[in-house]
Symmetry: C2
Subunit: 563 residues, 2 copies
Amino acid sequence: MSSVSAHDITSVFIALALLIATARALGELVRHFHQPAVLGEILAGVLLGPTILGRFAPELQAAIFPAQGSAAVILSGISTLAVTMFLLVAGMEVDFYAAVHQGTATVRISAWGMLVPFTLGLASATLFPTLLMETPSPVFSVFFATALSISALPVVAKILKDINLIKTDLGAIIISAATIDDLCGWMLFAVVLGLVGNYSGTTTAGLPIIATIEITLAFVAVMLTAGRWSINRIMPFMQAHTSWPAGVLGFALAGALACAAFTEYIGIHAIFGAFIFGVAFGDTRHLRERTRATLDQFISFIFAPIFFATIGLRVDFISNFSIVPVLLVLAIAMIGKVGGCYAAGVFSGLSKRESLAIGFAENSRGAMEIILGLLALHAGIIDEKLFVALVIMALVTSAMAGFAMEKVLNRSKPLNFIDLLSAKGFLQNLAAKDTKDAIAQLSAAAAATGGLDEKEIFGKAWERENLVPTGLPGRVAIPHARIKGLQKPVIALGRSYAGVDFNASDGHPALLVFLILTPEEDPRAQLEIIAGIARTFDKQGRAETVARANGFTEILAALKVDE
Amino acid sequence: MSSVSAHDITSVFIALALLIATARALGELVRHFHQPAVLGEILAGVLLGPTILGRFAPELQAAIFPAQGSAAVILSGISTLAVTMFLLVAGMEVDFYAAVHQGTATVRISAWGMLVPFTLGLASATLFPTLLMETPSPVFSVFFATALSISALPVVAKILKDINLIKTDLGAIIISAATIDDLCGWMLFAVVLGLVGNYSGTTTAGLPIIATIEITLAFVAVMLTAGRWSINRIMPFMQAHTSWPAGVLGFALAGALACAAFTEYIGIHAIFGAFIFGVAFGDTRHLRERTRATLDQFISFIFAPIFFATIGLRVDFISNFSIVPVLLVLAIAMIGKVGGCYAAGVFSGLSKRESLAIGFAENSRGAMEIILGLLALHAGIIDEKLFVALVIMALVTSAMAGFAMEKVLNRSKPLNFIDLLSAKGFLQNLAAKDTKDAIAQLSAAAAATGGLDEKEIFGKAWERENLVPTGLPGRVAIPHARIKGLQKPVIALGRSYAGVDFNASDGHPALLVFLILTPEEDPRAQLEIIAGIARTFDKQGRAETVARANGFTEILAALKVDE
């Protein structure tokens, strides 16, 4: 604290507060358009950096984010710490040991999925280097080939979860192939960094390149065998004999930082060590879900946004935007990855649709590509124009992956009933004398949300109610009807203080009544909505908790946030 | 990242890994002696700093923790960020609104508990300044008086929880008085810092002192009224419309950092702003337990140890140890605080014992005193000798508080059955053909742990078992006996794969059999142990989970760590 002035602290804290708040706000914004949060986080940096704020208020921008001095050094250090922690969590998601036990199809898909874009990348960087960069550096072509060949495991995993594919055979193949490509990509990149460090003489240890590569491979081999074995033995000891979760959290962070320091020392980047430690650490069956969640939430929701937002602070995305490299990178990356995976899939006996879906999944480059690009930029391997092209390629391939897979496999995200609720269709105080009255009031509310026919709604819902009562155990009722010509599902929600008797099997009157209207042509919608409501209120006391909330916003919050 | 070299990153990461690991290790060590974790964390810094490592290996010490350069600046920035986050969590523990609604006894205890040590401190610092400091600075006496008058709320709360006093009337008085003294102490200290900044001209804003104080008071008033009101409205919105818990976590950190930057800017320290934000934020009923736990765990177990360990890096605790200020500070602090609270308690009609217990509780200065001292040291208000004296006073008063309260109120921590388990008294595979056989085998194991009489144990336990069977619902059994002359309770634990029938009311055989032996003279011990076991296995499936663990360490881990 002694060496840092009050002015520097003020500056660093304002910068961090702005980065966190803006990244979060834009992260939420892009989420509404079903785009990955990392896009919003990078946009936050673009907004606060030279691209926007620096263009219109350069002095303000320089005052908030100084380029020199202690505040800049601290921010830079925190950003490095943040990305290192992010890689710890990314590593923890990798199930290396499951991936290597997959069959030949997986091996072929991961191999072709890397080799084809790698070869295409190497060829184009060697043949037309100046189309990509003005003055190509010596290891540029190897880096470029590597950058095209990786896959972003976290993006792939998230998409598979979203469309309920993760526990299928196809899902297992996709995840395992992505795991292998992710790991191999990092290994290759570590080698590239070793080459660069060696050329430019910036490594701390000053080792010859062969030694760096040998030590790197030895480090990975040791961590994934003896390291993993040790962690598996240390964890129960930590949980039995130290305060929980303090011991385990401390162990995870100290271990990741020590490995990070080691890899940084031998001349590849710190994040690589944290990533490999994360792979070994995340594998232990002794890691509890709560500890994993604490690490994951704090790092993914605080550290990661800080890091990704600082990227936008360093680079002007407008003046470094150049259409030729952007289109070229995107084309080579997509043709190579989608093509390679597709060919491998078809050759392995999978259907064309499945193979294409695999191709689009592995095609997403996500945050990994951006981190890799940034390191390459700092190491002088690429220039800012190519960096911008890589970032755009990463964002585009990630954003299109989910959409493309849904189309190709004819699957889609299940409807979430919470997204269908609206303030207009909410009755804060459903004072109904009986079931019929409750349905009538909710029909009026539902009709008001979108110009529907109140009478038709009531008629169909009441008719349905008379067939079988729709009260669920747990103080919830779900009267419903299919409406011809309805464009999209509508839900009206009534909260009743006294409860309305919907003849639930547990005999309790319902505190929350959901009137569910779905298009007659889409039987799936009704099923998904009802399943979602049933799942949500499966836990005893849940409906009471939700019903205690005041007003629509609090009800929504209570529904979303489960303890 | 651009301005920081690979060497600096290596250095920072090694330093952080060492600080986290050592602080955790020593924190666990002191915990075994029932001392607060902060003692171990400070000892970690003492070990790694100039006091020990620097004395024996000065070059190594300087290489790991450089005093100059980018690595030092980054470490210093991270340490400031860490203490600021710690104050956010500390503020979240403060229930200001409950405290101000307490009766006159609380007001009197908090007032006298501050005024007496404040007056004593002011008098001694004015009358014998040179006994405390070689060259007393202008605001020194006001600071000294303030430092003696604070109470450490977190320490007080933890002790009350430990001895089950927190929900009693006495507990409410103690907590509320500590809350008020904690808050007032910070306010006073903020004023002192304002004074210093003003004298030395180090504040960023360069405001006159009256303006600083006015703005500080206005800031506190606004945050605790309008700020609190706004947070209460923003929180449901964040939970309803942002991804959870990302939105809430981001809001908490961005808010705390913004307030911290503001207070740092007006010339009092950043931590003050984070603390006041924490008070307003922690009060909202919309904050979920999980979110609170994620913030609390990551900050208390990672950031706080980093900060407290870095204290030891800055100060040589041996060469700055001087017996006169140490004893003097300790004596004035204790006489003032214990005496003031005791008098106020007796005057308010509480018993002498209760009043004395209140005195010892409020007497604990904990981490707050250390942080306050460090800021004063950096601001040039005190020298290193007085700082060391304050740290020792803080640790001694905190360490003695729990012990003294237990004695004065004749209460003690309830026994925890997990602490009584041992590898010797553990049967990994209890292959018993019936209840009698199981008790016989466990009696032999229990006897082996401490030279007890196997026959006597078996006889008494089997006799007891025949009166009423000891099987509990949930696959656990607790045969037990009181043994004459036993020094302390002994538990033998057997894990059975097939289960042993102990006639539990749910009809299931027991997978875990605890044989509980307690001294005949201590009926409380048996009760507490049985209650602890019953509580632990209250949750369905818990015994199955624990029984699945392999070996004693894993069993212990599974018992300690509940999801």
